[in-house]
């Protein structure tokens, strides 16, 4: 075990732990936001740069500060490392810049976007963004396309986190989607729009931090905070069958995996609780499910405001 200090809080972690995961062990607002890293998907992270932190001391052995900010999701801690997240003015400034970069080409079409209430970019913009944009140029646009018959892609909203590419690479047997082109013109696409037909492709929707990938069986049906999230399970031969069903009255509007406070799928029976497309898209009848009870959405989302006991808001201005 090695010791690391993050924002003046000390924690002991196993060797090889990243700064981000060490911060998650402390919890609360020392945890940097992560838009591309996804602990259940190996090789994700490093891309969005929202999780930048300052390393004020590299280790006990070599206590020099690191000159550049580092990505906490991909930088392993060293014994005696001192990290500054919310206590660093540099982090505050540069994270603000990253948020600005992520937003300059974003359509800001939240009023018509299904992700509202669950959108990590909204949260990020709320916590670290500026009130006004300095971007006077034309925003890049794409037409929405279908990724298979159940998933809609709004490329305009995509932040190119590559999580869905990782799902395609790691969960599905034959990858038919990925990134085309470069730079500003890079886009998620199925090659020549061939459909993604795979039992686990729907998990792309769950990993997408924004409203770029949405569930066609749910689109435009309801705002998520009008729905009742309930833990449910069924006998499924393809996946764990442990899900959250989102009800309006007795009707099931949508089915998702069970996600933790960081928006990542929880482990079920010892492995990542990805759910299959049958459970997600086809089992929309109450009789398909054994309803266990209400699900607390453990994020500082508007969803948790209306429901259940205390709203878990951890939103604080950094300054």
């Amino acid at each position: 075990m090695i010791k690391v200090t993050i924002d003046d809080v000390e924690v002991e972690v196993a060797e090889g732990t990243t700064i981000l995961n060490a911060a998650r062990m402390i919890g609360g607002d020392v945890v940097p936001p992560a838009m591309c890293y996804y602990s259940k998907l190996p090789d994700t992270g490093g891309k969005c740069r929202t999780c930048l932190v300052e390393v004020a001391a590299g280790s006990t052995k070599d206590p020099r500060p690191m000159p550049k900010l580092v990505v906490s999701c991909s930088t392993p801690v060293q014994d005696g490392m001192v990290v500054k997240n919310k206590t660093s003015e540099r982090v505050h400034e540069n994270r603000g810049a990253v948020v600005e970069f992520l937003l300059i080409n974003h359509p800001l079409d939240c009023p018509v976007c299904d992700q509202v209430g669950e959108c990590h970019l909204q949260d990020l913009g709320f916590e670290h963004g500026a009130e006004k944009t300095r971007y006077e140029e034309e925003r890049r646009t794409f037409d929405p396309i279908d990724i298979g018959n159940k998933i809609k892609l709004h490329m305009n909203r995509c932040i190119l986190c590559y999580r869905c590419v990782a799902v395609a690479n790691q969960l599905t047997d034959k990858r038919v989607h990925g990134v085309l082109h470069r730079g500003e013109h890079a886009e998620i696409s199925t090659y020549i729009e061939s459909a993604v037909e795979n039992d686990f492709s729907g998990n792309m929707i769950d990993v997408c931090p924004v409203g770029a990938l949405t569930d066609k069986t749910f689109r435009f049906k309801s705002r998520v905070w009008f729905l009742k999230p309930m833990e449910a399970e069924c006998e499924c031969t393809k996946c764990s069958g442990k899900v959250v069903v989102w009800q309006f009255g007795n009707e099931i509007y949508r089915v998702t995996a069970r996600k933790d406070r960081y928006g990542e799928v929880e482990d079920q029976d010892g492995k990542a609780g990805w759910i299959c497309n049958d459970c997600r898209f086809d089992k929309k009848d109450l009789s398909d499910w054994n309803i266990i009870g209400p699900r607390t959405i453990d994020r500082h989302s508007v969803i948790s405001q209306g429901n259940y006991e205390s709203p878990r808001t951890s939103i604080k201005k950094v300054k």
């Binding site: 740069r49 810049a97 970069f101 992520l102 140029e137 190119l160 470069r182 730079g183």
Partner: protein, 447 residues
């Protein structure tokens, strides 16, 4: 004229063929290394030579080689970076086109030192005709027993192949090159792990520039100490410079490190001055990624000393008043050139070439390009100039690979030294479209 170690025979008729190359002393270093030296000894000579990587960063080659991990039973690879796509840089092209066997010879000796039985030359996709030249030369080398099994009876096996590039500047970044060679999209990897530990197919790998590998040949022939006698301080040996822009005699030159910039631009042996009797306005001494220097900082440093063609002297003054030797792409602008237009041109290149993986580079390069485009076309505002400075500060240091920095530095330097010209593009919208601002005034004091 200084000594020429690489291009000594570039004008010998038929030097691209094995026989002529061999008659002119070719492949001696392979014989010497394989017959009378151990891999460790070859490494030692390279370390003694002080050779620094010629691909842009100037990292000591011997040190890079010494970092190569050597786990039992795992193959090691040497990759030659011939992706040469930096605007203003065309030295590797000249070397490979003229003397392909020099690179092959360097690949064999270097691979011997590293214990690599397979190496690749990853060549820029637009250099297709050079791919043919190299393949022909490689076939000859196989034929003569310098490649393949048990080379010269030494027991050392080596195979060398050429791989055409993926058609992007970013594939010249060493980890993107590896991804591309593996058949994937050329996105740079995050480091660590470094290629020396986990490179091609997860195996220890060294990536070196064409010129670095070619320089190993004279180092082994004459000894590392001899090589280190040329040059100045930590800039040893000779360096290929591709000179372009408004020069009387642009072209590829092999210089001894340490000659003055003055001599290189104006000397009879080199570029012979600015074309058409014009005055020098600015110079980008090391390829498009390095800071631009205004005329009063090109031949002299801010301290008033002669600027030399070395890593140290070109960087003298840091970002405030210096630049970098970079890849040796030496671009010269005369008084008629528009710096705003040029800055936009470079920015357009980086926006086009960003792989798009990380947000600051993907979004920031595109943003800068658009703002510069407006400024250049007389549609900008004064606040755009500050905005540009602000954007590039937020890209710099916050990205996965150095392309982000490479995109930010030229813009930062142009604004630092040529702010008046940028403001002129805002204040004199119509007049500035003639793009004839002329020379920038020398500031009273240079910080």
């Amino acid at each position: 004229m200084g000594r020429r170690l690489l291009l000594e025979h570039d004008n010998v008729a038929g030097i691209e063929t094995f026989d002529v190359y061999r008659k002119n002393g070719g492949y001696r270093s392979v014989e010497k290394a394989l017959k009378s030296m151990s891999p460790e000894l070859v490494l030692e000579e390279v370390q003694k030579s002080g050779l620094r990587g010629r691909g842009g960063a100037g990292f000591p080659t011997g040190m890079k080689w010494s970092f190569l991990a050597k786990p039992e039973g795992v193959p090691r690879y040497l990759l030659c970076n011939a992706d040469e796509s930096e605007p203003g840089t065309f030295k590797d092209r000249y070397l490979m086109e003229k003397i392909p066997h020099l690179l092959i010879e360097g690949m064999i000796v270097s691979s011997f030192a590293l214990g690599a039985n397979q190496s690749y030359i990853y060549i820029r996709g637009e250099y297709m005709w050079i791919l043919d030249i190299l393949e022909k030369a490689i076939a000859e080398a196989y034929d003569k027993g310098f490649l393949g099994k048990n080379i010269l009876g030494s027991g050392f096996d080596h195979d060398l192949s050429v791989a055409p590039g993926g058609g992007a500047y970013i594939c010249g970044e060493e980890t993107a090159l590896i991804e591309s060679l593996e058949g994937k999209r050329g996105n740079p990897r995050m480091k660590p792990p470094f290629p020396a530990v986990k490179g091609l197919y997860g195996c220890p790998t060294v990536v070196n520039n064409v010129e670095s590998i070619a320089a190993v040949v004279p180092i082994i022939n004459d000894g590392g100490e001899e090589y280190a006698k040329i040059g100045l301080g930590k800039s040893t040996g000779t360096k290929l410079i591709s000179a372009c822009g408004n020069l009387v005699r642009p072209g590829v030159y092999e210089i001894e490190m340490g000659i003055t910039v003055e001599e290189f631009i104006y000397g009879d042996d080199y570029c012979r001055g600015i074309a058409n009797g014009k005055k020098l306005k600015a110079c980008v001494p090391g390829g498009s990624s390095v800071p631009i220097l205004p005329h009063y900082l090109v031949t002299k440093t801010a301290a008033g000393e002669d600027r030399l063609m070395t890593y140290e002297s070109l960087a003298d003054g840091g970002f405030a008043s210096g630049s970098m030797l970079g890849s040796g792409g030496f671009i010269v602008f005369d008084e008629d050139q528009c710096i705003v237009r040029n800055t936009w041109n470079f920015a357009r290149f980086y926006a086009h070439e960003s792989c798009g993986q990380c947000s600051p580079c993907r979004e920031g390069t595109g943003w800068m390009e658009k703002v510069l485009h407006r400024l250049e076309h007389g549609q900008g505002n004064l606040r755009d100039i500050d905005l540009l400075a602000e954007i590039n500060k937020k890209i710099e240091g916050n990205t996965i690979c150095p392309l982000g920095d490479a995109a930010a530095w030229p813009v930062a330097a142009a604004i630092r030294h040529f702010r008046d010209e940028f403001e002129w593009h805002v204040n004199e919208r119509e007049e500035s479209q003639k793009r004839n601002y002329g020379l920038i005034r020398e500031p009273q004091s240079i910080a």
